[in-house]
């Protein structure tokens, strides 16, 4: 309970600094720009598919920026003052993560509100909105957890590179396929195929989550996807917390 309370206070502390320092202006400006560019269409009614796919991609992109900025706030020598107390390392890291989520989800909320007030999505009721929103928010949570894991205070540089290489390998299907794949020696092609399948498995919830968000179709095995997303979030965060607890604290100067 004490740890939860400290996590809450540290997240509030970080968000407060984020707001007061004016960094939040970037998110607000991007949100307004996105609204005017993609959602303020007067001639055609907006479809749910268009809304969820566009807002899904926009918030993912913005989460990368917000995550990098907020996590960088945690990688300053000021962190020594906060960590020299009873706060603990897990509440520190999770507090930073929660701050990223609050901003990302907040941006999503603002966009939804603006659209609902000025250009409502045709054929999308509250239930449909909630069905599309759940996997979308979980995707943002997953991305934020991955960014937390890849922060310099959590993983050393070689490990970060290794994780990024694995992610790249999982995505390599788009680059190495068809004729390129067939030109490779058979054992290499087979090994690459197996490796891709294994490595891309953890990414499945992210992709299917995005697809469900757009289609809002939870039939069959799709209902399990949000649970898988949640497990992936917990897995990534646990890994980050475990690594951070064992690392030496050498904040960036």
């Amino acid at each position: 309970m004490q740890a939860l309370l400290r996590t809450f206070w540290f997240a509030a502390f970080t968000l407060s600094e984020y707001l007061r320092s004016g960094r939040i202006i970037v998110e607000l400006a991007a949100t307004v720009a996105a609204y005017y560019l993609f959602f303020r269409r007067w001639t055609l009614p907006m479809t749910p598919d268009y809304f969820f796919s566009t807002v899904g991609l926009f918030t993912l992109g913005l989460t990368v920026y917000t995550g990098s900025t907020i996590l960088a706030l945690g990688d300053r020598p000021q962190g020594y003052v906060t960590l020299a107390r009873r706060l603990g390392r897990s509440p520190y890291l999770i507090g930073l993560y929660v701050s990223v989520l609050v901003v990302s989800w907040g941006v999503y909320g603002i966009i939804c509100l603006l659209i609902a007030l000025t250009n409502p999505v045709s054929g999308l009721d509250i239930a449909g909105w909630m069905l599309g929103t759940l996997p979308l928010l979980l995707n943002l949570a997953m991305l934020a957890a991955l960014l937390t894991l890849l922060t310099p205070i959590v993983l050393p540089a070689p490990w970060r590179l290794a994780v990024l290489a694995l992610v790249a390998l999982a995505f390599s299907g788009n680059l190495i396929s068809g004729s390129t794949m067939s030109s490779l020696p058979e054992p290499v092609a087979l090994a690459l195929d197996v490796l891709r399948t294994v490595l891309s498995t953890p990414l499945l919830p992210a992709f299917t989550g995005f697809a469900i968000s757009v289609s809002r179709d939870y039939s069959g095995a799709s209902a399990v996807v949000p649970v898988a997303q949640l497990f992936l979030v917990i897995g990534l965060l646990s890994l980050a917390v475990y690594s951070f607890a064992r690392r030496e604290l050498l904040f960036s100067a």
């Binding site: 400290r6 600094e17 020594y80 020299a84 107390r85």
Partner: protein, 342 residues
């Protein structure tokens, strides 16, 4: 039981050794100084004790515990270079940091109020951290470190980057903190800080503590004192010479060689009785500086280094003004001891 125990502690960054077998013991209730030039590894030592770093080899114990996570809350930390969050007011900042320390409700309000007053922050409590003078920011640093009433206070370069007035303020503040009976470790490169604040100190050089000394013992070993006066009447000079053969004087100066506290007190009393204006009182050499030089020279000699007499780690700049202040405090303490005695 020692509050701090370091045994053969080694620490390196990317293969570059910083600490090469540091061993030291700090008993409860003293102010211990780690004296060394910039880059000697003082901050690394403090960070090891705060649990931010782990030693490559050796033992680091705080309150007898090797698991430093267990002693969180019993240790206060004042960082170097005034690295604090600047977007809050002093009160907000202390409230947040108090909450991180596990304080809440009335206890939090009480502790924040007490430290604001104790650290002299009442006038700036609603001011933003970014708008404070450096000396005031350092006061906030002390207030935050003392919020949880730590038994051990780790202070890293407390006066670095402050002007001489700011330095004096912070030294006075630490002097009041020592009265709380908590153990204090100060990492510094200023000889004067060691002189004023520390009961004991170690010289960190070449990644090791090469020498340790009690500051009081060193001060007492100071052999000569020069008292400069406005004008010494010949009758007073005769009276002074009659006190001891250790007194040697001319019209402007009185030199006590060897000096003892009793002789010094006698001379000062006589000068005051004769209405002689005292301009300054200074030792003929700075005992801590001499100790530092000889320790480093000895260490360099052992390693065959060519420069056997490096400069001391920092300026002892404020000279006899500081010494006078030191003597005033010593007198005050002696008086307090005497009044305490039945």
């Amino acid at each position: 039981m020692d509050v701090i125990t370091l045994e053969d502690v080694h620490k390196s960054y990317d293969g570059i050794p910083v600490l090469r077998g540091v061993s030291l013991h700090v008993p409860r209730g003293i102010v211990y100084g780690v004296l060394g030039p910039n880059g000697a590894g003082k901050t690394t030592l403090i960070h090891l004790l705060a649990g931010f770093l782990r030693p490559d080899r050796g033992i680091v114990r705080v309150f007898g515990d090797e698991n430093l996570q267990q002693v969180d809350g019993r240790v206060g930390y004042v960082p170097e270079r005034l690295r604090y969050h600047t977007h809050y007011t002093v009160r907000e900042y202390l409230f947040y940091l108090g909450r991180f320390s596990g304080l809440a409700g009335a206890a939090l309000r009480r502790r924040v109020g007490e430290e604001i007053e104790a650290c002299g922050l009442t006038s700036v409590v609603n001011r933003k951290m970014s708008a404070l003078a450096r000396g005031m920011v350092q006061r906030v640093g002390f207030a935050q470190a003392l919020l949880s009433q730590p038994e051990l206070l780790l202070i890293d370069e407390p006066t670095s980057g402050l002007d001489s007035e700011g330095q004096r303020d912070i030294i006075d503040l630490i002097d009041t903190v020592r009265q709380r009976r908590c153990t204090i470790m100060v990492a510094t490169h200023f000889l004067d800080e060691v002189d004023f604040l520390c009961d004991r100190f170690g010289i960190l050089h070449g990644g090791r503590i090469i020498a340790e000394a009690e500051t009081r013992a060193l001060r007492q070993s100071s052999r000569s004192v020069v008292i400069t006066v406005a004008d010494l009447p010949s009758s007073t000079a005769v009276a002074l010479s009659a006190l001891s053969t250790a007194v040697c004087c001319n019209q402007r100066e009185i030199i006590l060689t060897p000096n003892t506290p009793e002789l010094q007190a006698q001379v000062l009393r006589l000068l005051l009785d004769h209405g002689v204006s005292i301009i300054s009182l200074a030792p003929q050499f700075h005992p801590i500086e001499e100790f530092y030089r000889s320790a480093v020279r000895g260490e360099a000699g052992r390693h065959g280094e060519s420069d056997a007499s490096p400069p001391p780690p920092g300026p002892s700049g404020t000279g006899d003004t500081l010494l006078r202040e030191l003597l005033r405090r010593e007198d005050q303490r002696t008086q307090e001891r005497q009044t305490d005695e039945p």
